[in-house]
Symmetry: C2
Subunit: 400 residues, 2 copies
């Protein structure tokens, strides 16, 4: 799925590629590389899971310099729960990329996604990397997006071209993730490239902000992975004056970044394991943004709510029950619930008379759920998927 306002998908100053190295069966692409012509300003966000995978531990250390020139990612093996050998393999993977690109290995980030608990087939990565480097091209973004997929049904790419300070600036992101999707980066990988010039501190803050409203506001199954990572590389080829905080330029940049982040995160939910519907949950009138988000998540995470949407059942009782269960003292009589603008619950009870309209809404593949509270002015938005038979099929038999 590509969401782009550009004719041709490429980011000046970046090349990308993806090849099959034999980590996955069946000749599927499983090794991706993103390379900047020069070291780029970088920011990263990582899983907060206690059982961080080796590439995450490696990345947390690498990102401290805020300079990254290349990112190599493999799918098919997460290199997680692999003990000390896993760290050795992660180091080795970064060194392989650096060697083949002839750059300093301190400029290389790596990421892995796939099964937990198996050692990285480092030999295959070693053999596959020369061909991967050879395949690098400005047009290689789709190949890279394909190579990072696991249970994803399609690659996920979003891009925007905007004008900043009189210069054309491009932002492009690729992402993967279909299960284990939840706050704090879940099993989700996302890599963003931009040719904008952005000051390091400004990039970190804008990136964190955009992630908070996109990748950290989605839920498929409430599970957080050991391997999540989101990175942004700002190469600077656009020639704009470096973007600084609290400027009109930073606002334009953030808006474009938010657009592609939200677009990619919605793609992830829509592609949620077994998902048939996107539930777009908005909570308004909360006391704080944090409470609004907690309520939206409580609804989006509820197995009962998710199965009701799957079944096309406008089960508002489960929604208010989920919202009320997390310890925030919501006054029932001042709470309203709407699906696509149609009221379902108001004044402490269900609304009658619009059952046909609601039934039509339930058939759509994207449904907006608005919970209006009367406790304050804060709001939040969370994307959730439904819970289906296919989710069970996929996860009852996907190996460790």
């Amino acid at each position: 799925m590509i969401d782009s306002n550009m004719e041709k998908l490429c980011v000046p100053g970046f090349r990308a590629g993806g090849v099959a190295s034999g980590i996955k069966n069946g000749g599927k692409k499983d090794l991706a590389l993103i390379a900047a012509d020069e070291p780029a300003v970088a920011a990263g966000i990582f899983t907060t899971n206690s059982f961080k995978a080796a590439p995450v531990l490696h990345g947390i250390r690498q990102i401290k310099s805020h300079k990254v020139q290349a990112v190599m990612i493999n799918s098919g093996c997460a290199n997680a729960a692999t003990g000390d050998e896993g760290m050795v393999d992660a180091e080795r993977m970064a060194a392989i990329a650096a060697g083949n690109l002839a750059i300093d290995k301190r400029l290389v980030m790596i990421a892995s996604t796939g099964s937990i608990g198996s050692r990285l087939p480092i030999g295959r990565i070693e053999e596959g990397t020369p061909g991967l480097v050879e395949s690098l091209s400005p047009d290689g973004i789709e190949a890279a997006a394909e190579a990072i997929m696991t249970t994803d049904r399609y690659p996920k790419i979003a891009a925007r071209r905007v004008s900043i300070g009189g210069k054309d600036v491009t932002l492009c992101g690729i992402a993967k993730g279909a299960g284990m999707i939840e706050p704090h980066m879940a099993t989700m990988l996302a890599f963003f490239m931009t040719d904008a010039s952005v000051e390091s501190d400004c990039l970190r803050r804008l990136f964190k902000k955009s992630m908070d409203q996109s990748f950290n506001a989605i839920t498929v199954d409430g599970c957080m992975s050991t391997n999540d990572m989101a990175l942004i590389l700002a190469g600077g080829k656009a020639g704009n004056r470096p973007i600084r905080r609290h400027t009109p330029e930073s606002a334009i940049f953030l808006e474009a970044l938010l657009e592609i982040s939200i677009s990619l995160s919605a793609m992830i939910v829509r592609d949620g394991e077994g998902a048939t519907k996107l539930i777009d949950i908005i909570v308004e009138g909360a006391r704080t943004r944090n409470e609004a988000k907690r309520i939206a998540y409580a609804v989006g995470r509820s197995s009962l709510v998710k199965t009701a949407f799957y079944g096309g059942d406008p089960n508002w009782g489960r929604i208010i029950s989920a919202a009320g269960a997390i310890g925030i003292p919501i006054p029932p009589h001042e709470t309203e619930l709407y699906f696509d603008g149609e009221p379902l619950f108001r004044g402490g009870r269900g609304v009658a008379g619009n059952e046909e309209k609601i039934a039509a809404i339930m058939k759509k593949d994207t449904i907006s759920v608005l919970i209006k509270l009367d406790m304050g002015t804060a709001k939040a938005r969370v994307f959730a998927s439904d819970l289906t038979h296919d989710y069970i099929d996929i996860n009852a038999h996907y190996h460790t």
Copy 2:
């Protein structure tokens, strides 16, 4: 399912019954009554959901006197999210029971379970109650247990006879609940009768303790209901000296109460909507009991863990990932994981060589999952169900 060490299921001083009043279709029992010969010492625990159903609000008020003589329960309609009319209906239901039993309505508790959002069919309850009162009998506990069922596959009863202070004392509990099962009483109703004489303050504390280790330590789907309630009535017919706190008698009473509570709560999980397996999760070596319970719950609630057990996949990666995701800084290298005593994860990585033993364990319908931490000495235990196709079937189409 009956777990009892007695020949005949009855509690001196109590009568019970269950009839079909037409709230449910198909002539199924839907109205239950438990009546003590005299006002009994009582304690109750209620859902903490903000959207408390009318009978819960009614019960929270009634229990303040700590005196209850009768409990009437209907299934088929939860009388939840029914606004002010719901409260009127709840009051009316209590008055109907009191009138037919010729007792003070302040001695009557009521409970409702079933669909949210519909008004209580109070006319049917009114018509059904005389027959229900007529059916009351010392042997009526099974009928009552049947009448409180919703999606339950079988009634749930546990009873123990123990000797306290030279007297035979009986404890008996009935429970219902199959979905929306989670901490803080979830969609779960449980009613306990005992002929023991127990001081009011002592009863409240022992009841809270036993609930914390049983009904508040189970999870089917992570959803908390608007209607949960657990009540205990101590009638005193056994003639023992009233049980007081911190005595050997209170320890014996608590042990028996814990036994039947844990037995009933395991029945609920085993009967979890669509469940095929009971996952008995024990966390040891945590810093606090609260942290131990949070970790156990994080594992028991994870959709990925639950589907793996359904699929018979010993996916330890999902278990440690779930345990690590909740912000408690678990050191991976000092964490061990066992299924029925067989190690799966140790020293930061998976254990190899016992795959056959593990495969045999995965085929069992009860599996013990032990997570050994090295952070402290606290422990906790949680029962969880697996997540299956039948759960989706049941919940995608069960109406509001």
